[in-house]
């Protein structure tokens, strides 16, 4: 047995994980990433390597929701292995070092491993007030992001704030909050992992893909991995049959609500939101928002705080929106419908603000495997 295998076996044993379970985890990861069966062995090998890739996790205008999501990694022991397989050299919420010593840890990595570490960014980055809306150790978030992400092998923008500006960038964007793409122009190998917060299952899958193949999975136009953001919520929703049958919740707690009918009329944004919540669900597959009776709020989409609100206003009626319509047609029409819904409910002001003051995230051509 090689030293590498030996280390992994020891780690697994100490965590009470049988090797069979670990390989099962790798197979699940391969399936989540839509990879062939043979990829599971490759993943197992990559995860068991001895030298741990370094990760620096930066928090700026954030709520730590993505950090908390990270701590909920759901396949218990296997997810911890993934944590241990990375060397998380900077993460303010969990690291033991503080103040100057914590900064030293971050700077040592940037200096000694330029182009050789992963950066994760949580939270938006304010450009206003010369950067004074967010400073760490006296340095602006903007300067830290440009320095750390600018020297990283790749950057993961986790959560909608880092990916698209998110809540701080919602109209009227008081602090000039930016996404990573806008704050660090030309940043290399940027992957956006939006949602509020991002589902840790997708982060885990993304990291394992990177470790295994030294590349990123194919991305959509917003630089989101297709394996997690390739289909709409509506397309995979467990309540879809009720939508097609015209069975809707009309009032909170009514017979339809109790029976699990479609939440479309209560404001569900599932038709215009692309994420895999219905498939992977949350907290170890325990549940998801629609599963507990509340509409989707569209949190994985750029500008959702302005474009998906009011949350309880349903998307406009779509002709022919029913069984047999393609999701692309429905999605496209429904997106147009959001604007109509604003106008119809006298909330043009917010919709207008969002159009005037928030530019869309620049769409860079997806590079696929970078």
């Amino acid at each position: 047995m090689s030293a590498q295998r030996d280390w992994l076996a020891t780690e697994l044993a100490h965590r009470g994980v049988r090797r069979r379970d670990f390989l099962g985890f790798c197979a699940t990861m391969a399936a989540a990433l839509a990879l062939p069966d043979t990829a599971a062995a490759q993943i197992a090998k990559a995860v068991g390597r001895t030298e741990k890739p370094i990760l620096l996790w930066l928090e700026f205008q954030d709520c730590a929701g993505n950090t908390e999501s990270f701590l909920r990694a759901s396949r218990p022991t296997a997810a911890e292995i993934v944590l241990d397989v990375l060397s998380v050299d900077y993460h303010e919420t969990i690291m033991a070092a503080a103040g100057e010593q914590s900064r030293e840890n971050r700077e040592r990595v940037v200096k000694e491993h330029p182009g050789g570490y992963l950066a994760v960014v949580e939270g938006s980055i304010p450009a206003g007030a010369n950067g004074a809306y967010c400073t760490i150790g006296g340095e602006s978030a903007l300067a830290i992001a440009q320095h750390v992400c600018g020297n990283a092998a790749a950057t993961i923008a986790i959560g909608t704030c880092a990916a698209f500006g998110g809540l701080p960038a919602a109209a009227p964007n008081p602090t000039g909050a930016l996404s990573v793409a806008d704050a660090v122009p030309g940043v290399k190998n940027l992957i956006n992992l939006p949602a509020c917060p991002a589902n840790v299952e997708n982060l885990t899958a993304l990291i394992v893909h990177y470790l295994t193949f030294k590349s990123w999975p194919p991305l959509d136009a917003y630089r989101r991995p297709l394996f997690a953001y390739g289909k709409s919520i509506h397309d995979n929703c467990e309540r879809r049959a009720h939508f097609d049958a015209g069975q809707y919740v009309e009032l909170w707690g009514d017979a339809g609500h109790r029976a699990g009918y479609c939440l479309y009329k209560m404001g569900c944004k599932g038709p215009v939101t692309f994420q895999n919540c219905p498939n992977v669900r949350w907290n170890g597959g325990t549940n998801w928002p629609i599963g507990c009776g509340h509409p989707c709020i569209g949190c994985a989409e750029a500008g959702f705080w302005d474009r998906m609100t009011p949350f309880y206003q349903h998307l406009a009626g779509i002709p022919g929106f029913g069984a047999g319509s393609s999701v692309d047609t429905i999605g496209g029409l429904a997106v147009l419908g959001v604007g109509a819904a604003f106008a119809g409910h006298g909330l043009i002001q917010i919709a207008k603000r969002s159009r005037d003051e928030i530019e869309p995230v620049p769409v860079k051509p997806p590079k696929g495997v970078v």
């Binding site: 709520c63 241990d84 967010c134 400073t135 000039g176």
Partner: protein, 570 residues
Amino acid sequence: MARVVVDPVTRIEGHLRIEAEVDGGIVRDAWSSSTMFRGIEMILKGRDPRDAWVFTQRICGVCTTVHAIASIRAVENAIGAAPPPNARILRNLIIGAQAVQDHVVQFYHLHALDWVDIVSALSADPVKTSSLAQSISDWPLSSAKYFAGIRDRVKGFVDRGQLGPFANAYWGHPAYRLPPEANLLAVAHYLEALDWQREFIKLHAVLGGKNPHLQSFLVGGMATPVDPTSQAALNAGTIAQLKQLVAKARDFVVRVYIPDLLAIASFYKDWAGHGRGVGNYLVYGEYPDDDSAKPALFLPGGVIRARDLSKVEPFDPSKVTEYVAHSWYQYRQGDHAALHPFKGETQPNYSGPKPPYDRLDTEPESKYSWLKSPRYDDQPMEVGPLSRMLVAYASGHPRVKALVGAVLQTLNVGPEALFSTLGRVAARGIETQVLAEKLEDWVDALAANMASGELRIHDNSKWDPNTWPVDAMGAGFHEAPRGALGHWVSIHNGTIQNYQCIVPSTWNAGPRDAKNRRGPYEEALLGTPVADTKRPIEILRTVHSFDPCMACGVHVVDAKRHEIVRVRAV
């Protein structure tokens, strides 16, 4: 006199900077500064009040329920919506679970490494560790073999040479006082608690769809249907699931967390003499027991002044005000005013040094934080688990009295020990046990309602904004894990006209006020010993004892004259 700067203060939520003057190994003065600002209340203006909870919830992803709860209560108060009994019970369960999970995580993952030296654990004897573990608890994971495994695992981690999040900390600092075996025990439970928190919080996914950022709240009730005959609603299967989750939570708290807390505290009893703070304690109260306008509360509200436990004043919402004299905002009528949140106004006005900077300007007239300075009856107040336990203790809450008494007896200290860094740590543990024991009652109440056919979850009569008055104002009060939280909302023609939050970490971490009276962190740091100004672990101990949550603390209200930065994407 040396200026000690700790920035970032790590193992907290958000961005906190502490500057302290240290002379002769003692903190002589201190400044607490929040260094991040988002402007969420500005963003809320003009929006649908029924959406507000989703926005405010994102103030914090750690205490991920608290700003949702305060928001729906504020809007319900404004429009007169009356949530039915099931909504109250579900909210109590969600709030209680949040507090229990949050407190355990705070103890093990945010605070423990101020007291526990991981490197020392490497030299522990597993047999002695096992004896120690079994002497303080009957928790089954306590064999010598188990602790040998943990020790070898930590050793393997260290031997690989990549210490990751444990690198460059204050290991070996003389202020660490636990024997190697106690350190190893704590490291084992650090790892166990990481698993435990992830499993227990599935309770939030059951009742809220997901955690963080549960998604089942509604103005007027909850979105989670209750129906024992449906597979798409909370039913008997859910009751069974909840019962199992709360039983496991209680088990871990009573058999792991509390014994560890007492064992570790027994080595640090001198910390009952540090971190005294302002000595005034404010509690709004929490966990309504009935559905009346003024419900009985499981944990009572009240105010204690000057550490006088013989007297608890009732809380009066009209006595809450905020100063901006040392905050990066300005008031139209002058920065020395104190304004009630309904009349609150805030205009960001950064006057600190341009980044990058080495030192803040902390001269007597200077501003140095994005936090404002809340005051109650013009006095600084500490909020949080210590305040809640003191008010409950002084009000005669039977379970709190019993547990406080037991803890004081075990540590062989008097009640005055509570007013301290160690007192905050102990109070958080006591509250966790009180709540972990209480959760099952709410599960039973939910089951009883199901059995009686009480299935309502929402007050539909006020859902339509056309049923609201043209102008409405409301306040929502909540006890978050970190303390007293209030939201104030003004609604005009169905949209938000003004919104303000005063949150626990603003009370505790706020800067000096117009009369130059320090905030609770600043006051608590006075007199703290600092053995090595390059490694000020003692400062972290006192600051962490408050459980800082900085993203919560920063807010802004009045958008009338605010600075809007227009940013064009490039």
